[in-house]
Symmetry: C2
Subunit: 322 residues, 2 copies
């Protein structure tokens, strides 16, 4: 078996992914807001993956990985380590295929997150909150079950799946000048690059990142992957570093990376809830925060913004602490 | 000039309203949720007026009133007393027509509400927080300006405007067995009755009300208008009593009125935010709360639910006090 982590996914892989996952995902709506258009001077188009199955775009990549498995491999199930949207999405996709999904999570993870994974049918094995323990426990689970590992983003099947989002978007909007998405590990941005570099290579791809977790920004400037040790940001989906595959797309196809402060992210998040009436995660507010901060760059342009997910703890909203 | 308050609006009035207001309102989307379908055993269709201009369905009626005025009457502006969505909506519609909108509000109303009305161009005149003062100040404003009074719901132009919502809904869904909407003063329910009694008379119309402001429920059972003195409920859009025109529609066309407790309303609201990722007002959660409480009545049926608005104070969400 070839090492999947070293294969760059192709445009055809994305098309195959789309045909494969269409029965299991939503074609999420694109919303516009005259308020935000006036505020920014740009024509903004928000692709609402917060309305996606399992509450986030990650279900695209996870479903592609799960439904692309041969029956004999699938029978042993899938496995991952994540306490976020990838764990929910992989559990959802595995449930739809009727196979087990093993998730390794630190025992210290919030009960609400564990309950959400179990709610989608995921089987949790707890580890200690350290990389050593996580890797050891994960190896054990894989050894015992033979389950297929699906990395949250450094996996060609996952990136091909995420790429289906911009394909839908281009069909829904008839095209834009720029596309803005948050960057953490780089799965969504890589999928966007994969699709647009063939479908609409003239579109500028902008990645948005929290100042307090700006490893992708620094990697982009330095020309090599720089990984931070445990960055702290309200945009908790964006703490993870780039890996080989996502670095390939970022270094080859991203036009620029912009950053925003914690307060700018919180303000943009609150404003979106107030004016667009949608529930979205702090991570999704980073693109709008960077657009508001760099208006001159976006003025007069048609700009796509990917709202990546809506799984947020309603009892702990960031402006409650204000 | 005939007394508009005594004219029952007709189906043709609703069609005229729709043609008149279409340039100024959104055709809001209808969302579905497999989670809520499973939970209730019904096929639910949510008409999302929280995504409407000015954040609520009330802009339909307000726009119809404003754009239906002759030029000479319009020149003097419009006026109302409200501190809620009607004030925002009337200000928005007047702004679009380029005429003044006078709003009488108690000086004790939250600054955020005053700021929102001013944000849409409304001109506020403050009164003391009593009916006597409000009526006196309102009479003064009307005397001075000659502005046309637009009542929040007991006005045929407003009811005809609200009726456009179910017309869109029926086109978008291809029809339902039941339609559920919250009831306060009865403007939305009356518009729904107006439209469906001609367009789809077989559809059952259910009104949902907070137990703690159940004057419409008691009116319905008693066969005459019963008005409560200052009811207290988290669903603050639903505190006002029925009036002649809305009572006409409620008594003639509503199938039943169901009620829900404060906790049931809060639970339904939180669950909708969590699962559907939309921001909506407590009032909009009342229909879902009554459906969850009376599942057997809705099982196996196609059920429309009107999400009436999304203007909520994000710093004071009801579950924060839990």
């Amino acid at each position: 078996m070839k090492d999947m982590t070293l294969t760059i996914p192709t445009f055809q892989d994305m098309l195959d992914a789309h045909a494969r996952i269409e029965p299991y995902i939503h074609r999420t709506p694109v919303l516009t807001s005259s308020y935000f258009n006036e505020l920014t001077g740009a024509d903004l188009f928000f692709k609402c993956e917060n309305f996606q199955k399992a509450g986030a775009f990650k279900v695209r990549g996870a479903s592609n990985a799960v439904f692309g498995l041969s029956d004999d491999i699938a029978a042993k199930g899938v496995a991952t380590h994540s306490s976020g949207n990838h764990a929910l999405s992989l559990s959802y996709a595995a449930g739809r295929r009727g196979i087990p999904c093993h998730v390794v999570m630190p025992r210290t993870a919030p009960e609400a997150k564990k309950a959400a994974v179990r709610g989608y049918g995921g089987i949790i094995t707890e580890c200690e909150p350290s990389t050593t323990s996580r890797e050891a426990v994960f190896a054990e689970v894989q050894e015992k079950t033979g389950a297929e590992f699906v990395h949250p983003y450094n996996d060609p099947r996952v990136i091909a799946g995420q790429g289906t989002c911009s394909r839908e978007f281009m069909e829904q909007t008839g095209g834009v000048d720029m596309m803005v998405a948050p960057i953490g590990g780089g799965g969504m941005i890589s999928g966007t690059c994969l699709t647009l570099s063939t479908l609409a290579p003239e579109v500028e791809i902008i990645a948005s990142e929290p100042e307090q977790a700006d490893d992708a920004y620094r990697s982009f400037k330095a020309g090599r992957i720089i990984a931070d040790d445990a960055p702290q940001t309200i945009a908790d989906g964006l703490k993870v570093p780039l890996k080989e595959l996502t670095w390939h797309f970022v270094s080859n196809h991203v036009t620029d990376i912009l950053t925003a402060s914690e307060q700018e992210i919180i303000d943009a998040m609150k404003l979106t809830w107030q004016r667009m009436k949608i529930v979205m995660e702090p991570s999704c507010a980073v693109p709008l925060a960077t657009i508001l901060k760099n208006k001159e760059r976006f003025q007069g342009k048609r700009v796509g913004v990917i709202i990546t997910g809506g799984n947020v703890d309603l009892a702990k909203l960031p402006w409650m602490a204000e």
